[in-house]
Symmetry: C2
Subunit: 390 residues, 2 copies
């Protein structure tokens, strides 16, 4: 397996982007990534596009070929990767493998989603199908907040996690979102505001849930040969990727206080990358709901099982704490265009590891120069964990 570097990243403004179609939205991210890497599309040999909603959430059914043409990459090998909300990470992983294998020297991953074209209840219904449609959704009808509410209430019951702890995740992520010009939400919220927001599926309130967003992110991956050709020095390296999956039927899960796929995928990523959880300076974790971030702390080994609430209460996941988590605002405040999220996490980590976070108060002090992205599809149906380092 060859070494692979990330030599360019780009990200669009996240939010309600009815001003652009999926090709144009992707171009916003790709253009920045190409400028960052000092390349153009002609030299790209493989492109993986992460997107879950093609033909459903938005009308373009073959986004990979359309994005390739619009961004000047026609001729490259192409695939679209779909792993629900982890589609962006699946695309990153696929592009990474094409370079690591020695088949190509320059590959691109683009994550993109357009989610605001349809009315919110229709989008919620479509997202709710993201499990075992014929059994769980068609049979019982839960939507996504209900699935995560099941985990939140079990976690509160077993470990004494409080509604205030969940709220603190939203407070932290909105704070960092307000410092990130690309974030969907630019406002801060207080614990009281979160607790007073409408209940969606108890104990989750409106401000415990990530928004429905449009957005795109792009990543350029290169071999060492290509680095020499482009005279790139001291890039961010892909240290390792781990992956796992869980049952589509939630009724077959052993418990509802963590995601086994997160545990397995992160252990694999740590092993491949030869790092420990304590080595991680900065992490982007999958906080589609506030409880998901608390479970991620535990499943990724940032603290012991059941102590996620304590970790957020003690401010250990803020900048300056033990490990900085979701300092781009996370899915909660930056937004969660589902196919884009995995690549947007890589974007943020690369910016952080280079010391380029836009505003000074959003830059994490680096000790080990190790970053971790944790991206979930469904409710731990899919999981990819990526470790980057310099």
């Amino acid at each position: 397996m060859r070494k692979v570097a990330v030599i360019g990243v780009g990200c669009s403004k996240f939010g309600v982007r009815r001003d652009v179609n999926v090709a144009r939205l992707s171009f916003e991210a790709v253009k920045k990534a190409f400028e960052d890497a000092n390349i153009n599309g002609k030299n790209v040999e493989f492109l993986a596009v992460g997107s879950a909603g093609a033909g459903g959430l938005y009308e373009e059914v073959l986004p990979a070929v359309v994005v390739a043409e619009y961004c000047g990459m026609t001729g490259a090998g192409l695939t679209r990767c779909e792993a629900a909300c982890a589609s962006g990470s699946a695309a990153f992983f696929t592009a990474y493998m094409a370079v690591a294998n020695g088949l190509v020297d320059l590959a691109v991953a683009v994550g993109v989603e357009k989610m605001t074209e349809l009315e919110t209840p229709v989008v919620m219904e479509m997202l709710g199908r993201a499990g075992y449609y014929l059994w769980e959704f068609h049979g019982f009808g839960p939507t996504f907040p209900a699935y995560y509410a099941l985990y939140a209430s079990a976690h509160m019951e077993k470990f004494g996690t409080r509604e205030e702890d969940l709220a603190l995740v939203a407070v932290k992520n909105h704070k960092y979102g307000s410092l990130n010009p690309l974030a969907h939400f630019q406002n801060r919220v207080s614990v009281d505001e979160v607790l007073a927001s409408p209940v969606i599926a108890w104990p989750l309130k409106l401000y415990d849930c990530c928004p429905i967003s449009d957005g795109a992110a792009a990543v350029v991956l290169a071999s060492e040969d290509k680095l020499r050709e482009l005279k790139v020095e001291d890039p961010v390296w892909v240290r390792g990727v781990g992956f796992s999956s869980g049952t589509a039927n939630l009724s077959r899960r052993g418990d509802y206080v963590g995601l086994k796929a997160s545990v397995l995928a992160s252990r694999m990523a740590y092993r491949v990358a030869r790092v420990e959880p304590r080595d991680v300076d900065v992490a982007c974790v999958h906080d589609c709901f506030t409880i998901a971030e608390i479970m991620a702390y535990e499943d990724l080994g940032f603290c012991k099982k059941g102590e996620g609430g304590k970790l957020i209460r003690e401010g250990e996941t803020e900048i300056g704490g033990r490990i900085a988590v979701n300092v781009d605002g996370g899915l909660k405040a930056k937004g969660h265009p589902i196919g884009a999220t995995g690549c947007a996490m890589i974007y943020e980590l690369v910016k952080q590891l280079r010391g380029e976070a836009e505003k000074r108060e959003r830059q994490v002090p680096l000790k080990n120069y190790v970053g971790l992205a944790h991206n979930i599809g469904g409710v731990g149906h899919y999981c990819y964990v990526t470790v980057l380092g310099r």
Copy 2:
């Protein structure tokens, strides 16, 4: 890059399969592949599912996790690959890379599609979107036969290819389909019958078009370490994969007599596999329409540009000719469940290279023990070429 072997293949009956859902249909193929490889799902570390129609042609939106659970592979890394009608090849390529990279020792690719749940005009409309929806389909409204009719008429005009030559492709592929118990169509057709069938988009008649089918195919891939563990000797090896893409806008193509993506992908595959077109004993090429097979002969280098009609007229692509093509019936007679096709081609080549073609008159005599799969998405929007050998 490590060596990778195909150690198990399975394929469902192709046809109208309203008797099964997508998980059960996949299981039919996976069960055979697992038995063939003498493994079970617990040891599978990565699964790539090729399917284009999830949530559109059929209602399950996350087929990868559902297939993984139904077939006992929960815990494996998962992704769905979509590259239109080349989705199965994209999945095969992704699973292949995971093993070649050394990340895993055992991976599975499943191609599956359910296309007959909706009425035919609805399916045709959805397939017609497989280009640049917002520009070509929404703007001009062509469906797939119209796209390929454009190529057929240009090929006839430039090279003197005749309607009878197109018909001969259908005659050959129906003949082999009638010998393949898994094929959708079990009947033979004559040149006169093809020419007399209703015109769909001139010069293409009904019998120049592949059917709308349901089906699944599965492939098990293993590293050399795993081969030793399983005591597998003399397997079929993946010799090389090539890929390329074309514009989504057909108006930007240089000509309409061949697919540039096929030329580029096959040249890459030949280079990586270190073989020449003349080394290929048996090929599965993408004959979604009869003209597509004739263009494939030329684009893959089986004959010179413009001589594809002559090649089929002279019987050189029958068993016993210069190179045996689509002796499983091809998309034309075996059927074309779009996400399944790429893996079904690998299935057929592995059976041929092992000398296991079901009926004696369908077994290709092997000289170099080299097989080639050529899988197109759209109208040369995507192309994957895979070379296998023993």
